[in-house]
């Protein structure tokens, strides 16, 4: 897993990743790891598409925020994280949950509001959590979880473990106050935490440049906390993996936090309600060429992986997702007996005698 620290995975200007760029083909990542990355990428992609299908069948009742197009970030980090590490995600947290090993069936069941969902139907799409897997929660109000990730990192430090906490968040999140408070505290306490900004160029429906004082919403703020600016191609699982390994190592060494801006793009709308019409067609087209799945597929072919092997992986994942779908659909709708449970640690919700 250790990579060549001198290897340069940083995104060079212009900010738009170049699909023709071959420079990471010879990155110091072994083939086994790359195949695992590909499998994970497929899993996140196929799961997200399935979730989308289930909306269209009107089986998902609330809102949902997919990571279609952005899966390389969760993939690269998921591969680099160790079992004890902590992940903190946003409402757009499905990919990050699956990347930590959350059961895809239980995740889908949660979207469907079923008893066999990972949260028994209490949390829903925006709050996927699986503490056993280190997935410490998906948080639906912008900003807070960066501060909470600090707490988990602080706890690891106090307990003397080498765990690292990673918080994923969007470009739009860099403009809320909690971002600033979290970064400052992480640095002064030298916490083992990695802040990963998934810059998909939009805060909901508004282009990030229109509402941000600097062009790179995260990287251009790094200096305000004495951190290095790091910008990577968020659509390249290898670039993400290398950056993740470095930042996690740094944290484990006791050298404190990192702030990584991973540039990416979402293929679909912000949430299920959004047809994403506000984006220039040329921009959408340009990013289609950078879709991480075909781009990574091409890289694997270039470095000599047989097409058939990739096809097998794709089909194996498809079978998993089908099984997960069946599992989810078979779940019962939770009832009265769970409504009032788990407000308190005693399992109940009594506020009076």
């Amino acid at each position: 897993m250790p990579t060549d620290p001198a290897y340069d995975y940083a995104l060079r200007p212009p900010r738009l990743p170049d699909p023709e760029d071959r420079s990471l083909d010879d990155a110091p990542i072994d083939q086994e790891t790359r195949l695992a990355l590909y499998r994970k990428l497929q899993e996140l992609r196929q799961w997200s598409k399935r979730a989308h299908d289930l909306f269209l069948q009107n089986l998902v009742k609330g809102t949902t925020h997919l990571s279609l197009g952005m899966e390389a970030i969760a993939t690269g980090f998921g591969m680099a994280l160790k079992p004890g590490d902590y992940t903190f995600a946003t409402y757009r947290g499905h990919a990050h949950s699956l990347a930590r090993g959350m059961d895809p069936g239980k995740a889908l069941a949660e979207l469907l509001g079923r008893e066999n969902g990972v949260l028994g139907g209490k949390g829903g799409s925006m709050h996927l959590t699986d503490v056993e897997k280190g997935m410490m929660g998906s948080y639906a109000i912008i900003g807070a979880h960066l501060c909470i990730a600090n707490g988990a990192a602080w706890s690891a430090k106090m307990r003397g473990t080498d765990q690292v906490a990673v918080a994923f968040f969007g470009d739009g999140t860099t403009n809320i106050g909690a971002f600033h408070e979290a970064l400052n505290m992480a640095v002064i306490w030298k916490l083992p935490v990695v802040f990963v900004c998934e810059n998909n160029l939009y805060m909901e429906y508004t282009p990030i440049d229109a509402i941000t004082a600097v062009p790179n919403p995260a990287a251009d703020r790094a200096g305000a906390y004495g951190l290095d600016p790091i910008i990577i191609d968020g659509n390249d699982p290898d670039a993400v993996y290398l950056a993740a390994v470095d930042a996690l190592e740094r944290a484990r060494r006791g050298d404190g936090p990192s702030l990584i801006e991973a540039v990416t793009y979402r293929t679909g709308g912000h949430s299920r309600a959004d047809p994403a019409k506000y984006r220039p067609e040329a921009e959408v087209e340009a990013w289609k060429d950078r879709d991480p799945v075909p781009v990574y597929h091409q890289r694997l072919l270039r470095i000599g992986v047989p097409e058939a092997e990739l096809g097998d992986i794709t089909r194996e994942v498809a079978a998993t997702i089908d099984a997960a779908t069946e599992f989810a659909k078979a779940g019962a709708h939770p009832g009265e007996e769970t409504l009032m449970t788990e407000v308190w640690a005693d399992g109940g919700s009594a506020w009076r005698n």
Binding site: K61, G62, T63, G113, R114, G117, L119, G121, K122, G123, G124, S125, M126, H127, Y139, A140, I141, I142, G143, G172, T173, N175, I176, G177, A178, M203, E204, Y205, T206, A210, I211, T212, A273, Y278, H333, P334, G335, E336, T338, L339, M340, V343, S349, W351
Partner: protein, 329 residues
Amino acid sequence: MAELSYRDAVAYGIAQEMRRDPALVMLGEDIAAAGGVFKTTVGLVEEFGPDRVRDTPISEQAILGAAMGAAMTGIPVIAEIMFSDFLAVCWDMIANEIAKSRYMTNGQVSFPLVIRTANGGGARFGAQHSQSVENWAMMIPGLKVVAPSTPEDVVGLMAASIRDPDPVIFFEHKSLMAGKAEVPDGEIVDELGTARVVREGSDVTIAALALMVPRALEAADRLAENGISAEVIDVRSLVPLDTATLLSSTAKTGRFFTVEENPRLCGWGAELVSIISEEAFWNLDGPCVRITTPHIPLPSAASLEDLALPSVDRIVETVTRSVDGGGSA
């Protein structure tokens, strides 16, 4: 007379006021070109331009700070906080700054300011996007608090809130958005602090707000079948509160119920019950009973959320049981 959805009534009401007062401005996240995430501000930027209908970063403190600073220097403002749950990230601006500054300065500043926000459950959005927090606002001295239940009230109370020189928190209910109703032509301006008797009755008084109003009305129909005549009051405005209407109805019926979406403890119903049970004590023929969401965070699954929010069934059962037996909720 045109049919308007509750959703469209928001932009309709705002447009009425922006046409009237060229100084009036609006700001919030994704409210301009996108028309708001609930599509409640569709068409406004097209008519009034991006200087008057302004998109912001995800910076709720900065949004309300800008609104407050503008209002106190003479510009009337409408600020949108997308979901009422997010009032928590700018609660200092609301509870400590906007609400208190007039009093603290002995009247040197005014805040012609409306904070609009999507409130309430029923959309299966889970605990952080479904709260009914009208009681948060009611408990802060210095805030006026409004929660309309019909398209016409959206327009009329919006106008009243905008014209009011004090800060108003205006709760738009997510689960009422799609509902349509006739709205009269011409300018509509309502009055804050006025409740409305939406159904007359003689046996019990039921006070409800926002999404709970149609449920209380439906329950009243069913109660009538059971021989209980329910008077239903749409409270509409929590501050100022139309206690006169509540007290006189209770004087007539002798029984008082609330139907509340906010969680149980310290809800607006507790305040109303306290007022009634102090001031109409000798008129009461039985206990005041609150029908509320239980004191839990809201669950996301449809089956659970439906169990949590007060339902027509629960209203009917509770009122019936209480009238029959004098018992509790």
